[in-house]
Amino acid sequence: MSRHGKNPIAGALTLAAIAAVCATLVAGTWQLTRDRIAANAKAELERNLAPALGGLEYDGSLTAAMVELPPPHGLPGRDAAAIYRVYAAGAPVAALIAVTAEDGYAGPIRMLLGVDTNGVVTGLRILEHRETPGIGDGIAHDRSNWAEQFTGRALGAPPLGRWSIRGDGGDFDQLTGASVTPRAVVKAARDTLIYFDANRETVFAMQSAEEAQ
């Protein structure tokens, strides 16, 4: 099999040629799929927008007044965060904030928190996670109703010091057998509310992607 023998140049050229073929293959697939992939991620997020509003009335489309915040944005998560501003009769009523809890048990947890202009949570939905089946995956709405306990909570209710799971002396239920996963979600929700509380005016004053064009 030692065809190239002592000739490293021939081996290197063969390797380079095969690498070029492989790179073409990957680049071609990426070209073919990238629009669909971006559309899928957006569709998944938008499917969860209305449920996280908890029945609040709103004008037009929820996606119209979206802003994307590149890091560092002060919200939980290392990647870009998105805020969907919600209006009723032309006035701001709520914001849907997509953030990432980086300290999940099995990787980052993407989540969407709905909060009205008074700072009260309208709903919380998990967008993407890799938590343990049967244990940590109870945070997802199709697995258990765990996430519903956030609805109606705010920064003062419970007080900031009790925005943690029961095992840590807080007011939020855990999941049987899991504390890391709920802890990560509660912390990210709390930090998102703190951000919203401090930046309420800025959030609604920001120019949306559509307006910028």
């Binding site: 030692s2 021939a10 290197a12 063969t14 492989c22 293959l25 073919l32 990787g107 089946p133």
Partner: protein, 223 residues
């Protein structure tokens, strides 16, 4: 060797999961439901068939020095292509399989077929070998997935919407509730052990009915 023999080898006699015991990490990790098993099985089959064809086509140019880097290149590229395709056409399935699609790169069943078969045979037989081995792995993933799902959650075909689209489906409820252990890692080991035992029993029966005193062991294990 003709197509049928190659397929039979992969599906039964030399099944990558049951006999060679290769690729056990994904096999044990994702088989919490039939649909997950099917999804990873399809992805693995595509990578295995593709890598066998490409390795076989390039085999005349492969010296010892660059053989392994070329396998890594080809397999990693194909896995990336399959991962992108899943993200584009089966996004829900991609979400539930998570890291295990990129991790197909590390499935030693694939590099084993490249080294043991595709690098020494023409493209046609290599494709047959890839499809046979891939299908053998896929069927085992589906069988263990269905078994664990039924035992663990009491349903059949739960999450089929990830494959065919539409509203989320909980699956057909067969029994109420389930035995959680079956969908946790220990359940994966128990299920695989049962599957291997079942194959050995069937092989022994077959040999006994043929009344040929074949001396070879049923449970041949490769490293």
């Amino acid at each position: 060797m003709d197509w049928m023999t190659r397929l039979k080898t992969g599906l039964w006699e030399d099944n990558p999961g049951l006999v060679q015991l290769l690729g056990l990490c994904p096999l044990l990790a994702v088989t919490t439901s039939f649909v997950n098993g099917l999804g990873l099985g399809i992805a693995t089959l595509m990578v295995l068939a593709g890598s066998n064809v490409l390795v076989s086509a390039a085999r005349r140019f492969l010296s010892d020095e660059i053989r392994i880097p070329v396998y890594v290149l080809i397999i990693a590229s194909l896995v990336t292509c399959v991962e992108l395709s899943f993200k584009a056409w089966f996004p829900a399935l991609d979400r539930s399989l998570g890291i295990f699609i990129p991790l197909i790169v590390t499935n030693c069943a694939i590099v084993a077929r490249a080294e043991l078969f595709a690098s020494r045979n023409p493209v046609g037989p290599s494709l047959a070998d890839g499809i046979g081995m891939g299908a053998g792995f896929l069927l085992l993933l589906c069988a263990i997935g269905a078994f664990r799902e039924l035992l663990g959650t009491g349903t059949i075909l739960g999450g089929l919407d990830k494959l065919i689209g539409g509203e989320p489906l909980a699956g057909i409820a067969v029994v109420d509730g389930g035995w959680l252990l079956a969908v946790l890692p220990p359940g994966a080991f128990f299920s695989l052990a049962l599957a291997i035992a079942l194959k050995n029993v069937i092989d022994r029966r077959n040999r006994a009915t043929r009344a040929t005193p074949a001396p070879r062991d049923a449970g041949r294990v490769a490293s």
